[in-house]
Symmetry: C2
Subunit: 458 residues, 2 copies
């Protein structure tokens, strides 16, 4: 990826960063880079994620999915949540081609061919019963493969959904053991299950938090089943890794990470990630998790907002241009895309459209929106890709992970844990009658009953 931080300079925007401050910040970047390189060399928890492009073996993944019930399936159901779904969904969405997409949050099923080889992809990343039932009633179960992803093998949502999906297959007389692939840790219920049934099983790599695992089997099994080019994804990531040097002026990922850090410190508490490509909509969701869980701690962090150009010009732009001066807009735009002409019209007021293509209109919208923010003194950053393909996507995902790790170093937070989500997990378990590992009540569940209420009912 290439990065242009010109519109984040203090000469353009407020908040913005001066060139002098950037030069000073670059000294911190150099120190942070040394720390990152040391962490990578020692395969430390978290830092190990930046080694995935050279550690991940695509052939191991290709071999694991190489049975006809999986590789030749008409549909693939991925069961996972958070980092166990977003990377895989981002890759499926970006590379599905021709705009036929999956949305992981939307959980949309796609009737049309979605993958290079036509595999329909569904991501069950929520436990809404009506939505799950809707999917199970419309999927061709007799020719559907199952991809279950959970490091611990105990993630409540994932295991509940897997139990439900297994039962649906059994009710339909379809042997799920022939068509299930598991990605999990070295031990736990999913590992035991795969051993018992001889399921193909891949490992969630050690030292890599879920939200940094897109370039491991966690993100790549679904891509392999769909016929995407894992080597190109990893090569793109490797090329991005090659750019990691001790200066933000030489490394696009560090330029992005350092700029977001500097602007957050100057009041940009919101980061609106706004790709100008429908195929990158799920990427914006992936980025949101990466940014929120990695940097949102110790009362620090920057709120990621998922946006989409040009659509959200008609939804969010008013706020970003004229609301509080607390938002950095991060554009992602490909330099090339397949285009389509806009037919001419005899309506005078619309004649200008007929001289253009949809791609030219979209590009003009992007440039206009970028300039409109700059003209109002609102900071923004441009991230450019050659096009949306496997190589460039691998680079984008790796680059954003490196940017996030750098931002964590600069802020002095541990980007690799997520302690604040544990409370609700315990409370959920306790509310459903579960206990801790020693069989004790979970006191978090009791706190739920003590809610303060001030109700205003219809």
């Amino acid at each position: 990826m290439d990065v242009d931080i010109g519109n984040a300079l203090a000469t353009v925007a407020s908040p913005g960063i001066s060139r002098d401050a950037l030069e000073r910040l670059d000294e911190d970047v150099a120190r942070a880079h040394e720390r990152i390189e040391a962490g990578r060399a020692d395969a430390e928890h978290g830092y190990e994620a930046l080694n995935l492009p050279s550690r991940t073996d695509p052939d191991e993944i290709y071999r694991a999915v190489d049975r006809p019930e999986i590789a030749d399936a008409d549909a693939l159901v991925t069961i996972g949540i958070g980092g166990s779904a977003l990377g895989a969904a981002t890759i499926a969405d970006a590379l599905s081609g021709a705009g036929a997409e999956v949305g992981v949050g939307a959980g949309s099923e796609v009737g049309a061919d979605t993958a290079d080889d036509g595999t329909q992809t569904v991501f069950l990343d929520n436990v809404d019963p009506e939505w799950i039932t809707g999917h199970l009633e419309t999927l061709p179960l007799e020719n559907t493969a199952i991809n279950v992803v959970s490091r611990s093998g105990t993630t409540a949502e994932t295991l509940a959904n897997f139990l439900v999906v297994r039962e649906a297959f059994e009710d339909a007389g379809v042997d799920w053991t022939e068509r299930t692939i598991v990605t999990t840790g070295e031990a736990g219920p999913l590992r035991e299950l795969s051993d018992r049934h001889g399921l193909p099983a891949l490992q969630v790599p050690d030292g890599v938090p879920g939200r940094f695992s897109a370039l491991s089997p966690v993100g790549l099994v679904a891509a392999a089943v769909c016929g995407h080019d894992l080597e190109a994804l990893l090569a793109g990531a490797s090329a991005e890794a090659e750019t990691l040097t001790g200066s933000l002026f030489e490394c696009p990922a560090y330029a992005y990470g350092a700029t977001t850090h500097a602007l957050a410190a100057r009041g940009a508490s919101v980061n609106a990630m706004m790709p100008y490509a429908e195929s990158l909509e799920t990427y914006a969701e992936w980025f949101a998790q990466l940014w929120a869980e990695s940097l949102g701690k110790d009362d620090l962090g920057q709120t990621p907002v998922r946006a989409l150009g040009a659509t959200d010009q008609h939804s969010q732009l008013q706020l970003y241009r004229a609301g509080p001066r607390n938002t950095l807009v991060s554009f992602v735009t490909p330099r090339e895309r397949d285009d389509r002409a806009i037919p001419a019209t005899d309506v005078d007021d619309l004649a200008y459209l007929g001289d253009a293509s949809l791609g030219e209109l979209l590009q003009a919208e992007f440039e206009a929106t970028e300039a409109s923010l700059a003209a109002a003194g609102r900071p923004n950053v441009r991230i450019e890709l050659e096009r949306v393909d496997a190589f460039e996507l691998g680079g984008l995902l790796y680059g954003m992970e490196a940017a996030c790790v750098l931002a964590g170093e600069l802020a002095g937070v541990n980007a690799f844990n997520q302690p604040a989500v544990e409370w609700a997990k315990k409370a959920t378990r306790g509310l459903l009658g579960g206990t801790d590992a020693d069989g004790n009540r979970l006191e978090e569940a009791d706190a739920v009953a003590e809610k303060t209420t001030l109700r205003v009912d219809r």
Copy 2:
């Protein structure tokens, strides 16, 4: 809708509002309510939106779609953007049933039946050429209806897409004039077109900004084609309108609007709208436009973030519980939903799941997340619906619009304009060679070329 603001009180959260401050705020609410009622009585621009439940004639809409090429179509393509798409998509998404959904941002197509009568719904709300081509290649054009929505009839994205879609129909030998319905203003290119071809045409109501028009033909034509119950939608909205009184303690919509205003003033610059229902995912997008465009001006406003429970507990919750104290989380949860049991398992650690259903798990996740935020002193509000159906959805949309109008009154901003989006529209037009109404160059386009750059390339 019912609203519980207990977890936004200062005794629970920071930022939070004390009961004393709420009492004082209620005097402002009373004054704002008088202003709102006067505006409604005079059918003033914007305020008129709150009269839609009694002004919209469902029979007029049913009649307009009552030709076999439209009413019996297998698929409906809605061409619109922003307020001309989000309301219709929200209704389609919420009422499609069984979890088969459309996402307007995702632009997802749905292979399964999506509407009560099985109509596949697609929303073309972006001009990405690859995505548009993907849809046109997979839609059954010979049995697809077209719903074009633009008040001015000149919206660049909408008209470009309509020109492209028309051509695709012509190329396929399908007469688009038999299967197109138009919703537009009293004049303009779309009005002229509908007159020329005798297309059924409905009017965007005067005095109602696009983002407040879900309960007019703008949002209801697609619902009518899909067989949803317009009377129930409008009745739910009317029931909510009945609750508008001069006190936040008696009106759920005002309780929500006043609380968000009070918390924004106390530092909650972010409002994360987090429904616990997949079918309400597009509602969160609709809310984001409503909140951002209406309140984001004069350096004021509150950044809406679209979230989804339980999924985003694994993406955003870390930030909202442990990041900056700048976020209000707004939950929406139905009290009833169709449920599905989780099968029992012989894995000890997962046994607690087998005693529950997916619905019970989702409800426990919601209560746990709400309590986990309260336990960390982070403000949140609960909005409850009986269930996700037409009546309750109509109430939710109306209630949020009324809340937004109130928040605008309390903040002293004009909730009904969006002046900051004009600059980019002019620049886009100028970049493509268009001129202003007098044939003059658009100087905004020239500013685009003057971009400040600081590039860091790979």
